[in-house]
Amino acid sequence: MPEPIATPALDHPPFARGGATLALADPGPMTSVAPFPGQETAVNAALQGAGLGFPAPNRVIEGQGARVVWTGRAQAFVIGVAAPDLTGLAATTDQTDGWVALTLAGPSAADILMRLVPLDLRPGAFPPGHAARSGLNHLPLILWRDATGFTLMTFRSMARTAWHEVETVMDATEARAGLAARA
């Protein structure tokens, strides 16, 4: 009988540079919820019963220690808490191990991400509570913003590349800031 040994997708201390801090995050259990046709209202009600709800496109619904993030056509992820029983209402799939989550926070966070994500992420256009399905350069991306900053999720297998991409931009941002300070 083997001992179960859990290994994280990536092991990295937080990295602060260029006016932002990049860190690995563990958002907790993660379940995709895809309402079957005609069951949207029922699914929303069931999630509301859990203090959450089914979000509109590009939005996050925050609850106590948990959130529901819109992740695509007829699909959202319940994150941080087990999804309620939605048998017959929605397809639910455990996604906990499929993704690596990174947080990026700080005054330059939006500027840094806009090097890699083709979206307007400035606070006016992408305030806390907003979510997007897009790309982190060539990587698939689930992105949302809350009061503390951005959370980026990409495929677990691509964790190293994701870290490298953001880190490279943070290095450049720091170098740019140094240049501006001298000018």
């Binding site: 496109p57 007829a74 997007a132 399905r133 897009s134 991306l141």
Partner: protein, 112 residues
């Protein structure tokens, strides 16, 4: 080029996969004549002007889209979902091609 995904909003072209004319939505019946299948699989108009084609929001929400655009001016006049996510009923429907009313079918000899 930018496409306004009905779900995600305006997005850069790089997020989308292009798949060709919307003709692919008009899937013939299984027992249709070989010429009908040939037309469906292979024959495409190449209009200078308005065209409707299929795009997939691959680096996005995963929706298939019908984009109406002008191949001359590049103006995009519409982006619609092939299937709105809330459409349908839980009891299940049938396999069906989406028929688009008013679409002009190719005349015999157009291919020549």
């Amino acid at each position: 080029m930018r496409l306004t995904c009905p779900l995600c909003g305006p997005r850069d072209r790089r997020e989308f996969y292009y798949s060709g004319a919307e003709d692919l939505l008009d899937r013939p019946e299984a027992d249709a004549a070989p010429e009908v299948w040939h037309d469906y699989i292979h024959l495409r108009d190449n209009p200078a002007g308005m065209t409707r084609d299929l795009w997939y929001h691959e680096q996005g929400c995963g929706a298939w889209l019908v984009v109406t655009r002008d191949t001359v001016s590049h103006a995009i006049s519409g982006v619609e979902l092939v299937a709105p996510p809330q459409e349908g009923n839980a009891s299940g429907g049938s396999i069906s091609a989406k028929k688009k009313p008013g679409r002009k079918k190719k005349e015999a000899g157009d291919a020549a």
